[in-house]
């Protein structure tokens, strides 16, 4: 599914440069649910951004679904992102002047689907996250948990191969976090591959595999017994 070899990335800071990723090797199979953990500055977000094609590595190899991701033009990156990836952000990043349905349907718009099809698919995914009745509400009329669920529906809309979540529960209270995790787990149960960045141990423990980063290298990569979020809900 996803294969990373000797990935390096550094950022220029003034005259010197900051070496953020120092040779990452990672391979994720289809159907996995991986948590990437680490303190701030460990390079976990950078890794996720490179996987999300929002950023490009300086060195190393990145193969996603047998497609080598290298020397992408902005246009090609956009098309790959649209086709392969679904993003879930900590701050939801919904477009505030578009209602829930339009937000969910946005990736489909960039796929070039007809309006009717987009509405149909959008409603289907909204129903899946249990917000069909909220389809025509604007984001600021929704609670945090609802916003994140709309964002998840949006990430799912284009039927991506890989879901990337950057601290998906970071802006939510514990109860809502568990609800969201429960939902993400159910997505994983259906076979979606999920990669999430988190710094919360209990959230990470709800994944099937935990990868720990420190100072740009992987210090631990273990498969864990998944804690079901449903027991807290």
């Amino acid at each position: 599914m996803l294969k990373i070899n000797k990935l390096h990335k550094s950022y220029p800071i003034g005259d010197s440069s900051l070496h953020v990723l120092k040779g990452i090797d990672l391979s994720v199979e289809a159907g996995e649910m991986v948590a990437i953990m680490g303190s701030s500055g460990s390079g976990k977000s950078t890794l996720l951004n490179i996987i999300g094609m929002l950023d490009e590595a300086d060195e190393g190899e990145y193969i996603l679904d047998n497609v080598p991701i290298k020397n992408l033009t902005e246009k090609k990156a956009a098309i790959y992102r649209n086709k392969f990836l679904g993003f879930i952000f900590q701050s939801f990043n919904l477009i505030n002047y578009k209602n829930a349905l339009d937000n969910v349907a946005l990736p489909l718009y960039y796929q070039g689907l007809k309006r009717k099809e987009r509405i149909e698919k959008g409603l289907f995914h909204l129903e899946k996250v249990g917000l069909k009745d909220w389809a025509h509400h604007l984001p600021n009329e929704l609670s945090g948990g609802q916003k994140q669920r709309v964002a998840i529906a949006r990430a799912l809309a284009a039927d991506p191969k890989l879901l990337l979540a950057d601290e998906p529960t970071g802006a939510l209270d514990t109860k809502t976090s568990h609800e969201i995790m429960d939902f993400i787990q159910s997505l994983n149960d259906e076979g979606k591959t999920i990669l999430m960045v988190t710094h919360e141990e209990d959230i990470a423990s709800m994944c099937k595999r935990i990868v720990r980063l420190k100072d740009g290298v992987i210090i631990e990569d273990t498969f864990v017994e998944q804690v079901r979020a449903s027991q807290y809900v």
């Binding site: 999300g52 929002l54 902005e74 992102r81 952000f89 990043n93 477009i95 002047y97 309006r115 284009a158």
Partner: protein
């Protein structure tokens, strides 16, 4: 270009423009005002031009009127202060010798007591050739103008203006074939023309055949003045100079005596006015286009701010799979759309302004503005300019929007 006809494209434009309605409206003011100015001023300039054209319309504009005065220099034994008299032969000589002449029309004028039944008045009476109709077009309401037979047979016929008719005849009274008295002589009315707007030279309300005038006023070969018309491709000022030079020669006047012959160069006067109008139109275009450009820049500026504000949204869109081209296209489309809407509003209000001006100043014969309007091609040109400018100015925020990497755009708070 297919995207232009898709509802979603416009939905996106509508959504982002209505997000901040007040700002969108304020953005449009510049372009709206520019177009309003352009349409309003061009229309008014056209209105003034039309009213001048109506005023001068009956005259051949490349004409000069020449009359004789008294000399100011002694010459060939004559004292200065001698009254010079124009003759028919002078007119003929000018016609034969000056290059570029179209017509030379000798004219005579006098005052006469005009009587019809119990109504009377003192009016100027002109002795004229049929040719006058070529130089100073008479719009005949009834009957005809003087013709060659009238001249040949010294007929006692008269052509009057509508104004004279109103003063001498009962309302709606028949007048063709009626007789009126000029200084006690009966003249048969053969035609009536529309009273002209412009008063060029002596009043021109009653015309009798030139030869008849010669006879009854005992003029001999003398003429009062003449109208000279040049062919369109010749410079009327040159014709004026040449004609006067010949006249001085024929009448034994000093070649440098500028006072002996008076003249009024209609062509020159007309050129002054048309020059003024052209200048005004140029100014209008200049001011209008400059305002438009300023307005369009204002739109570009605001869009730049909008794009800056929407950095994160643009980042999200790109993360969701929007290509840089799609983002740019959207921003440019917004720019063009705002510009175009502002322009259309400007055209509509400009049109309304012209209608208002027309209602206030465009009615009646003495109207200052006649048919103040702009042609559809000017409106079209303005719209095309707007689209082009809107596109160009939209490119700046468009490139700004995609110059930030999506990762940085997403980090933006």
């Amino acid at each position: 270009m297919k995207f232009l006809f898709e509802r979603d494209t416009w939905q996106e434009v509508y959504d982002s423009l209505t997000k901040n309605k007040l700002r969108t409206a304020l953005t449009m003011v510049g372009v709206w005002w520019g177009i309003l100015l352009l349409i309003g001023l061009l229309g008014s300039a056209r209105g003034i031009e039309n009213s001048f054209n109506r005023l001068f319309g009956s005259f051949a504009t490349n004409s000069v009127f020449v009359w004789a005065q008294s000399t100011s220099k002694p010459f060939k034994g004559f004292q200065e202060g001698r009254q010079v008299q124009l003759k028919i032969s002078d007119a003929k000589k000018i016609e034969e010798n000056v290059e570029g002449i179209e017509f030379v029309v000798p004219r005579n004028q006098s005052q006469a007591l005009v009587v019809h039944n119990f109504l009377s008045g003192n009016f100027g009476v002109n002795g004229d050739y049929p040719l006058l109709d070529q130089v100073q077009k008479k719009k005949m309401i009834q009957g005809r103008f003087i013709n060659q037979t009238d001249i040949d047979e010294n007929r006692k016929v008269v052509v009057i203006s509508e104004e004279i008719y109103k003063q001498l005849f009962e309302k709606d009274a028949e007048m063709i074939g009626e007789y009126i008295q000029l200084n006690g002589m009966n003249f048969k009315v053969v035609g009536m023309f529309e009273t002209g707007n412009a008063n060029m030279g002596p009043s021109s309300d009653i015309h009798i055949p030139f030869t008849t005038f010669q006879q009854i006023y005992n003029m001999g070969e003398n003429i009062g003045w003449m109208m000279i018309t040049g062919k369109p491709e010749y410079d009327i000022s040159q014709i004026e100079t040449d004609a006067k030079l010949i006249l001085r020669n024929l009448n034994k006047v000093h070649p440098e005596d500028n006072r002996a012959f008076g003249s009024f160069n209609l062509g020159k006067e007309f050129a002054k006015i048309t020059g003024f109008l052209t200048g005004m139109q140029f100014l209008t275009w200049f001011v209008g286009i400059a305002t438009l450009i300023a307005g369009v820049f204002a739109i570009g500026n605001i869009l730049l701010i909008t794009v800056k504000e929407r950095t994160k949204e643009i980042g999200v869109r790109r993360a969701l799979g929007a290509t840089p081209f799609e983002i740019k296209r959207q921003v440019v489309l917004e720019a063009v759309f705002i510009t175009l809407i502002a322009g259309l509003l400007g055209i509509i209000s400009g049109g309304s302004l012209l209608m208002l001006l027309d209602a206030l100043y465009g009615q009646g014969d003495e109207a200052m503005l006649v048919n103040a309007s702009v042609s559809i091609s000017i409106v079209f040109i303005a719209l095309v300019i707007l689209i082009v400018l809107g596109t160009l100015i939209g490119l700046i925020p468009a490139f700004k929007a995609t110059s930030i990497k999506p990762i940085d755009a997403l980090r933006e708070e």
